[in-house]
């Protein structure tokens, strides 16, 4: 089949490259295989990072009725190169009173987990860089290390804005990590596996010949997807939840004292985190690399994955250009009062859907449960009463 040859072109290239090493010892082959995977993931996402950083500014420009960068190269596409050179040759400033070691390690600790997290996502058929049994758990385990990195950056800088930003960031990331993980649980429950490959596999095929079996097309899946996406926005510190680095309040939060290449590393970590969360959302709810319609399967799987990823990234930028920043206490209250109960509801709705044999009655029942809880919560948490004077808890 011609389609398959193109679909598996990267997998076959890797096998062909590894075939030069057939006489090498076992460990050398394993190391070479891993290195190839790492190189591929890094190359793809570094390119995507460069691309998205200029596209984001272009799109934001369009939203705000201006042009955005268009001086360097055709359509301003070489802008990331110029930015990179500028950041590389900038002076690296370390504050005198800083905790030097912690200050130095923080950007590394920030970027490393996000790159690791990218490894477990299946980018196409047979294209998972690091396929382990508990891939989803691995994703969250390494992802939780970024909180510590934020703390290290805030503490190491020895600056009150950095410290405040770090405290805000940790409080907010810890709170939203719970809904982020709990919304993954229904998918894990239905599929019965923690491996991303199995989850994508379970979303293959088409109901009645054309409707894709993606989890986002079930009521619990749609609710969980939205909750997951909002939590992902918070975890990657993007607007409207960017209170940890709110420029108008606390300069740049935990990144205030960083300059040059270290700042660029933070920037890279933020974008890689965004890619990782979007990639996981695609894997869990949007059918991974599966095509939306049967006759579109000629298009290779990885193209579908990156199309979906691109769509989610566009929504990230779109939200950034549209919504104002939330107040810090509202962000926290929203997590505990709304996101958590809704996340638990998703589990319940998924269980009902499962025990009605994935049929139409289960679909309606789970829709009913999600709607009842949503309406009840929005009635209960009528926020209009709470527009009173703000009291700070952590910034006394």
């Amino acid at each position: 089949m011609r389609g398959e040859a193109i679909d598996q072109i990267f997998v076959r290239t890797k096998h062909w490259l590894l075939s030069f090493l057939t006489n090498a010892p076992d460990w050398a082959q394993q190391v070479a295989s891993s290195l190839l995977n790492i190189a591929a993931v890094l190359a793809v996402f570094m390119t995507l990072f460069a691309l998205i950083s200029v596209l984001e500014r272009k799109i934001l420009g369009r939203i705000q009725n201006r042009y955005g960068p268009n001086r360097v190269g055709p359509f301003g596409l070489l802008q990331p190169l110029a930015d990179g050179i500028k950041l590389l040759i900038k002076e690296d400033i370390v504050p005198v009173r800083a905790d030097k070691v912690v200050h130095f390690l923080a950007p590394i600790m920030m970027a490393a987990p996000t790159i690791l997290a990218l490894g477990v996502i299946p980018y196409g058929r047979n294209m998972t860089a690091f396929a382990i049994d508990g891939g989803i758990l691995f994703f969250f385990a390494v992802g939780s290390a970024t909180e510590l990195a934020v703390f290290m950056a805030g503490w190491g800088s020895n600056n009150k804005f950095s410290m405040l930003g770090a405290m805000r960031a940790i409080a907010q990331m810890v709170s939203y990590e719970l809904p982020l993980i709990i919304t993954v649980l229904p998918v894990v429950m239905i599929v019965g596996s923690l491996s991303p490959d199995a989850i994508v596999e379970a979303q293959g095929g088409y109901a009645s010949g054309f409707a894709p079996r993606w989890f986002v097309f079930t009521p619990w899946g749609a609710a969980a997807f939205i909750l997951f996406f909002v939590s992902g926005l918070v975890e990657s510190n993007r607007t409207p939840f960017d209170v940890p680095e709110g420029e108008s309040e606390i300069v740049a939060g935990h990144m205030t004292e960083y300059s040059g290449f270290k700042y660029a590393t933070f920037f890279l970590a933020e974008y890689f985190g965004m890619f990782a969360v979007s990639g996981l959302a695609v894997t869990l709810f949007l059918g991974g690399w599966h095509a939306p319609l049967p006759w579109l399967e000629v298009i290779p799987s990885y193209i579908w994955f990156f199309l979906k990823l691109g769509a989610l990234l566009f929504v990230f930028v779109w939200i950034r250009g549209t919504l104002p920043r939330m107040r810090v206490d509202h962000v926290m209250g929203f997590a505990w009062k709304f996101m958590m109960p809704m996340a638990f509801t998703c589990i319940l709705a998924a269980a009902v859907w499962h025990y009605q044999a994935h049929g139409i009655s289960g679909w309606l029942w789970s829709l009913g449960i999600v709607l009842v809880v949503y309406l009840g919560l929005s009635r209960l948490l009528n926020t209009r009463r709470n527009l009173s004077t703000r009291t700070y808890r952590f910034a006394e």
């Binding site: 905790d99 912690v102 382990i132 049994d133 508990g134 758990l137 691995f138 969250f140 385990a141 390494v142 992802g143 939780s144 290390a145 909180e147 510590l148 703390f151 290290m152 503490w155 410290m163 405290m167 940790i170 810890v174 990590e177 019965g192 596996s193 923690l194 491996s195």
Partner: protein, 160 residues
């Protein structure tokens, strides 16, 4: 299970733990504790218990370490980083270590190589957790809820 991996992990873990126990600055100690926890997780991977290793990273690095550093932030006082050292503890710890290692080294039945086993999958752990260990699981759930409520009650603002 390779010996070189064991040696590297053992050195990193014990060094991290020692630093966590002895460093003067609290914040450095907490970060070294993370290194020690990561080393223990690496041991679990080496021993073929990937799931426990991941849970270890998830709970200890993601939750316990973050809790500890957050507490350090909330109870920070510049003059209290170095609040003395009780040398009696060193003697007790060394004595305990001596007795333990004497007992371990004396027991010849312990110097065995690991038997070959099939990999322990997450699915199997889940099945056992939901059948044989369902009551302990429920108890842990109750315990965690109780701990959550207890922690909240403890840190609630006192009425003045």
């Amino acid at each position: 299970m390779s010996a070189s991996a064991f040696v590297v992990i053992a050195i990193v873990t014990v060094a991290g733990a020692l630093a966590a126990a002895c460093l003067r600055k609290l914040i450095h100690a907490a970060l070294c504790l993370v290194v020690a926890f990561l080393g223990i997780a690496a041991f679990y991977f080496l021993l073929g218990a990937e799931f426990v290793g991941l849970v270890q990273v998830f709970v200890y690095v993601g939750a316990v370490a973050v809790l500890i550093v957050f507490t350090i932030l909330l109870t920070r006082r510049e003059d209290e980083d170095d609040v003395g050292f009780n040398w009696g503890g060193v003697i007790v710890a060394l004595a305990v270590f001596g007795v333990l290692s004497w007992a371990i080294l004396k027991t010849t039945s312990l110097s065995i190589a690991p038997p070959a086993i099939e990999a322990l999958t997450v699915k199997r752990i889940g099945q056992i957790l939901m059948t044989d260990y369902i009551w302990p699981l429920q108890c842990v759930g109750v315990l965690l809820t109780a701990a959550l409520i207890g922690a909240l009650v403890l840190v609630m603002e006192e009425k003045r």
